[in-house]
Amino acid sequence: MIFLGVMGPGIITANVDNDAGGITTYSVAGAHFGYSPLWIFLPMAVALVVIQEMCSRMGVVTGKGLADLIREKFGAKVTFYAMVAFLVSNLINTVCEFSGIAASCEIFGIPKHVSLPIAAVCIWWIVAKGTYKSVEKIFLVACLFYFSYIITGFLAHPSWGEVVGEAMRPRFSMNQATIVMIMGVIGTTIAPWMQFYQQSTVVEKGINVKDYRFARLDVIIGGIVVNIVAIFIIISCAATLFKSGIRVESAKDAALALKPLAGRNCSSLFALGLLNASLFSAMILPIATSYSICEGLGWENGVDKRLKEAPQFYFLFTLLLIIGAGVIMLPRVNLVTVMLLSQVTNSVFLPFVLIFMLLLINDRRLMGAYRNSGFFNIVSWTTVIILIALTITLTVMTFMPQSR
């Protein structure tokens, strides 16, 4: 019973990892590489859980958000510039999510000039009028819709033997396309803003230290579920598009290409999943961004506050929504470029966030008995260093033309 009360932050955050950018990357990976990327997801689940667990622990023990802690330990200057970077990278991410909304609605025949304003207004209304509890309920329901990808996976009739075989066998062929794909998958799954969001929700939920083990369970379940969903996205593309040799550039292409190969239902489900994921992330990203920025700079914030009580919070939130939806409304936007740009800004910012986190979680004054143990420190530093190395390589490679 206690678990049901504590459940939420970990599962929601993990699921938001499968946002528009994530689904695009997975479908492209599945279509171009078949089942071979499947092995990545085991180490990835570990990395995800390790990082999210630290955020969750910091949130429960200190009762403060990540931005709060950065401000209190590293001072105003560091916080301000970190928040500027955070805003820029999340703004581009938000644009990405809206592109996902536009793309999936177009599959259902709704033009983006209709779908985007409606989506933006709905999101604004839910957040401005809702409370933390009602918003969380909507998010948990949205998590259920991710199962549409699991159904899609089954509808694609993959050969299960092959799937299991590939998932167990790491293959690291040294050609550039594979490396870019692997790093893209990791880069979209572990994004910097998630750590801020996860910790803030844990704090806002007011989870007690006594119930911490339930919060950890929440993180672990989230980490596993999200990877299962990702695996099924790859399976459904690999079993159909890869087998027929169809090349796609975006999740929308993938959904459309599924129609003749796996049937109309499969294609619709795939698009529905994309719509849900994009809407969900387009809602969470602006909240998480404005929440953390207000937190770090000392302004009133929170979903539970009214418009008048937290003007900066609602200003930032509204601004992100307007720009997010507005950019996609422009007539000539190259969505693939936006996706790439968001991956790059994420990867530039991620190392800083991870290092902040590790410094904070080892602070004796702050964490007391709950700071990292020696063993956990080795695990987390290794994870962080590998992630940093990968994201830096990814950034460098994105700028080198021959890698695409």
Binding site: T62, K64, D68, R71, G75, A76, K77, K137, G206, G298
Partner: protein, 442 residues
């Protein structure tokens, strides 16, 4: 004249310094050799405006070492800080020693409770007053301009703002909060409590509902630390103003004895409402610890459904025997009713507690003191039954325009009283539930 004023203002400005400016200064020793940079200032807490006690100096880039000197050794305080001692007298150590209260560690960039505006704020800068050689904490800066100053952008930003609007409120309005009203939330790691810089009296001047909100703006550890620092009456007052969910959250962190003490100090109807929402064994545990009198009342109240008159009522009311004279009744009110929340009505009962009538203080005052109290009762006694619903109670109270109504059983024995504020909060919560269900549809 204008010049004099300008001079005076310049002087006044020179006497105030921002902590962020001090942090940028270099420290020179008696021989004017560089010792290091200012790292922190320890202050003596417990005074209204705490004085600087020791200066903490840090040097080194890769191996960071800190040393501290007493404030009496600080002689110059202009572009750089001059010490009266040579640097070889300073002992540099890798760890900052444990000080009680440090400005950078405990105040700058941290959250504090602003007891003047009843809010939790983040400190962007500390405003210090320099008098002779003493340095005192005067204000904390929570404004936007303080933040801009911390980023070293004050000059360009001021210039831009001035160019656009000469009289912008940004330039004039400093959001300084006097130290008198600042309650730091830094926690003593040993006792896990917070040092109250303000008096209980100052705290009492904050309405409990606001205090409750302040407490929930803090994180759980700070919340409990501040809560523990309060006296039990204030705790009970805050408790009464909280939502049931929040009450449960705090109760979970308290030990049983403390919880029981708070429940004892709450009014009986509020306490009963709370206990009703707790698991049965917790309630049983609490009731054994609560004073017998209160426990008896509570277990009586707990027997009724929370949506009935019995569940709503309080057992705190003034009842008088029908045989009492008006004079002795007034005397009784003067001397025996200090603990009562309100004196809406006075209930007249017989020796078996049957309700005979209802009177008011005003009616008693204007009556003949030699008469019995029974002569002052209203011609009609309005009352509700224990099992009446909230709606019925609200209806009756509205119909007869009474601010409190007695609750009786089928034999007309008086059991309790429902006051306007109890029924109002209940009716409002029902209305809200309906409204939010209708408008949200989620």
């Amino acid at each position: 004249m204008a010049n004099d004023y300008q001079d005076a203002k310049a002087k006044a400005d020179a006497m105030f310094v921002y902590f962020s400016e001090i942090l940028k200064k270099e420290v020179l020793d008696a021989e004017r050799k560089l010792v290091g940079g200012v790292w922190d200032i320890s202050v003596k807490s417990g005074e209204v405006y705490p004085k600087a006690d020791r200066l903490i100096i840090r040097r080194g880039w890769r191996r960071r070492l800190t040393a501290s000197v007493g404030w009496s050794c600080v002689t110059g305080f202009d572009d750089e800080i001059l010490l009266s001692v040579p640097s070889r007298d300073l002992r540099f150590e890798p760890q900052v020693k444990e000080y009680e209260f440090l400005l950078r560690r405990d105040i700058l960039d941290q959250q504090v409770v602003d007891t003047y505006n009843h809010k939790v704020r983040r400190v962007n800068d500390v405003h210090l007053l320099k008098v002779d050689h003493e340095l005192m904490v005067a204000h904390v800066d929570t404004g936007l301009r303080g933040l801009v100053r911390r980023l070293d952008w004050q000059r360009p930003v001021d210039f831009c703002v001035r160019a656009i609007a000469k009289d912008a409120s940004y330039l004039k309005k400093e959001e300084l909060v006097s130290w008198k009203y600042v309650q730091p939330v830094a926690i003593n790691p040993a006792s896990m409590t917070m040092r109250l810089t303000m008096t209980q009296k100052q705290l009492n001047s904050i309405p409990p509902a606001d205090l409750g909100e302040i407490i929930f703006d803090l994180n759980p550890t700070e919340r409990m630390a501040l809560f523990r620092a309060l006296d039990v009456k204030t705790k009970a007052r805050i408790f009464e103003s909280l939502e049931i969910e929040n009450q449960k959250a705090i109760l979970g962190d308290l030990d049983k004895k403390e919880a029981a003490l708070i429940v004892t100090h709450m009014s009986s109807d509020n306490a009963a409402d709370l206990l009703e929402k707790l698991p049965h064994d917790t309630v049983r545990n609490l009731l054994t610890l609560i004073e017998t009198n209160m426990a008896k009342k509570l277990s009586g109240l707990l027997g009724y459904s929370s949506d009935s008159a019995g569940g709503l009522m309080t057992t705190e009311y003034v009842a008088m025997a029908e045989t009492m004279t008006v004079a002795s009744a007034i005397d009784f009110i003067k001397h025996q009713t200090h603990d009562f929340e309100s004196l809406h009505h006075i209930y007249i009962v017989d020796d078996k507690n049957h309700l005979k009538g209802m009177s008011t203080v005003r009616r008693l005052l204007i009556a003949d003191p030699r008469e019995t109290v029974l002569s002052t009762v209203f011609p009609k006694t309005v009352c509700v039954h224990l099992n009446d619903s909230v709606k019925e109670v609200a209806y009756v109270m509205d119909k007869y325009r009474v601010s409190a109504i007695p609750v009786v059983d089928e034999n007309r024995v008086l059991h309790g009283v429902i006051t306007m504020d109890d029924i109002l909060s209940k009716v409002i919560s029902i209305a809200w539930r309906k409204r939010s269900r209708a408008s949200k549809g989620i």
